[in-house]
Symmetry: C2
Subunit: 295 residues, 2 copies
Amino acid sequence: MGTEAEFGKLVVFGVGLIGGSFSLALKAVGQVGEVVGFGRSLGSLSQAIDLGIIDRVGANPGAEVADADIVLIATPVAQMPDIMAKIAPYLGPETLVTDGGSTKSDVVAAARAHLGDRIDRFVPGHPIAGAENSGPAAASAMLYRGKKVVLTPLPENSTLDVARLRSAWEWCGAQVHQLTPGEHDRVFAAVSHLPHLLSFALVHDLARRENGEQFFNFAASGFRDFTRIAASHPEMWRDICLANRAALLDELDRYQTQLGELRAALDQGDGAALEEVFAVARAARRAWADGKLKE
Amino acid sequence: MGTEAEFGKLVVFGVGLIGGSFSLALKAVGQVGEVVGFGRSLGSLSQAIDLGIIDRVGANPGAEVADADIVLIATPVAQMPDIMAKIAPYLGPETLVTDGGSTKSDVVAAARAHLGDRIDRFVPGHPIAGAENSGPAAASAMLYRGKKVVLTPLPENSTLDVARLRSAWEWCGAQVHQLTPGEHDRVFAAVSHLPHLLSFALVHDLARRENGEQFFNFAASGFRDFTRIAASHPEMWRDICLANRAALLDELDRYQTQLGELRAALDQGDGAALEEVFAVARAARRAWADGKLKE
């Protein structure tokens, strides 16, 4: 009785926000059968059992992935090589492996180094979902509803495997897009990583001044919005910046060029040039906001 | 019957958001008697009458300021020299003159040039109140409640006049602070003008790329917050940047130095240095947000 789940068995490495929510979302729509979890903290694994995120705690990664339909590596990138090396020899012929990392080129490099000739099993992915909170308690079946997920298929991937992964994320309620790993890293360097760096920079520079409090005392709504992301997790963003270093340096250099143009216009008192830049920016920002409202 | 209003007669130049709200706020607490308005648009003046912002439209500036208790010049700075020159010869011996401009050094320079030996009458001010909307219809008696107002008294001002202006703004519900004009311009360059410039720069640079839409397509909440102020009025911000050019260039140079340090850390893969900057920024941003919640 009942339709068979699309994914009979899911193995998830990392049972926090990303991995936990993926499991809960698939369970909520009845599209996964058994979920086996791996993690580094017995507390988290125990909590994941209690919250219904996983059905079992795995003991032997190789044994568990052998008959898994889908494997999600939802850990920090630093932990991925070891996991990949451990599971590579045991992956089933149709076992689909994916990840949830914020950067892709480094994940792909790790996969090429540690999955070896099983690289075709690995379809990299990046769910764009808020990470304010973490851990199993933060996981939710609704996390991915209406959110974007970017898959960055490799040349070795089959069309079928990419379609299967797309299907999994669509069951989670996400809108799936595709980019190459390089495109992904450049895009997110520009619209996410660089803004974080710029915001951290502004706040840090004010905080280190002798009379810093006077500045903060008169900071208002514009400052509040611009610096909201400066309250982000330092370690997580250190890792993202280092992981996406090349693309981020490139974006930073482009931005410095733009700033230099503005500085020159300001220095020369060129109001027309300033106004042009501001008007183009305003129009683009409003068009983007309007576009999002229609989604 | 009833307490006498603190300000028998207010003359306001500019009957839009800033000037209109000042009048409405004082009227709402019964602390102003007659309000006479000057403006460049008959439509605005007529609307101001209809909305109860002003009691009369002025015809002769000199005649009106002669028996005014307080004069608020709530126009763009570009219009101030002319107004100041017109009223200077006629200001009563105790007529208090002030303004609502976002920058102060340039306003003070205009006042020194055009009020002549009546400069002692002029106590510069800057109400920090949102300017999303404009015009008489946007004016509200509540606009300044809980907001900050910065006065930048001149050496020529009497303690009494500064106290009178403080009192006026406090009747509007504002929290009054004092800085020198130079301090004001440096502070606002850092916490308001520079962030706007930086936000405009990011959006403009993305908008001018050939494949710009791809970037905007994947921009999410961090981008949204960071770029909210990039939707600000181009002309208004052109004027603010030009008016506060010196302080803004100085802040931009400091910021470029900070960015250079981050670039070097990123280039060298110095995760510890990045994390330190991010951690200091996060702590400062959170402390600021917590402090505001307690207000």
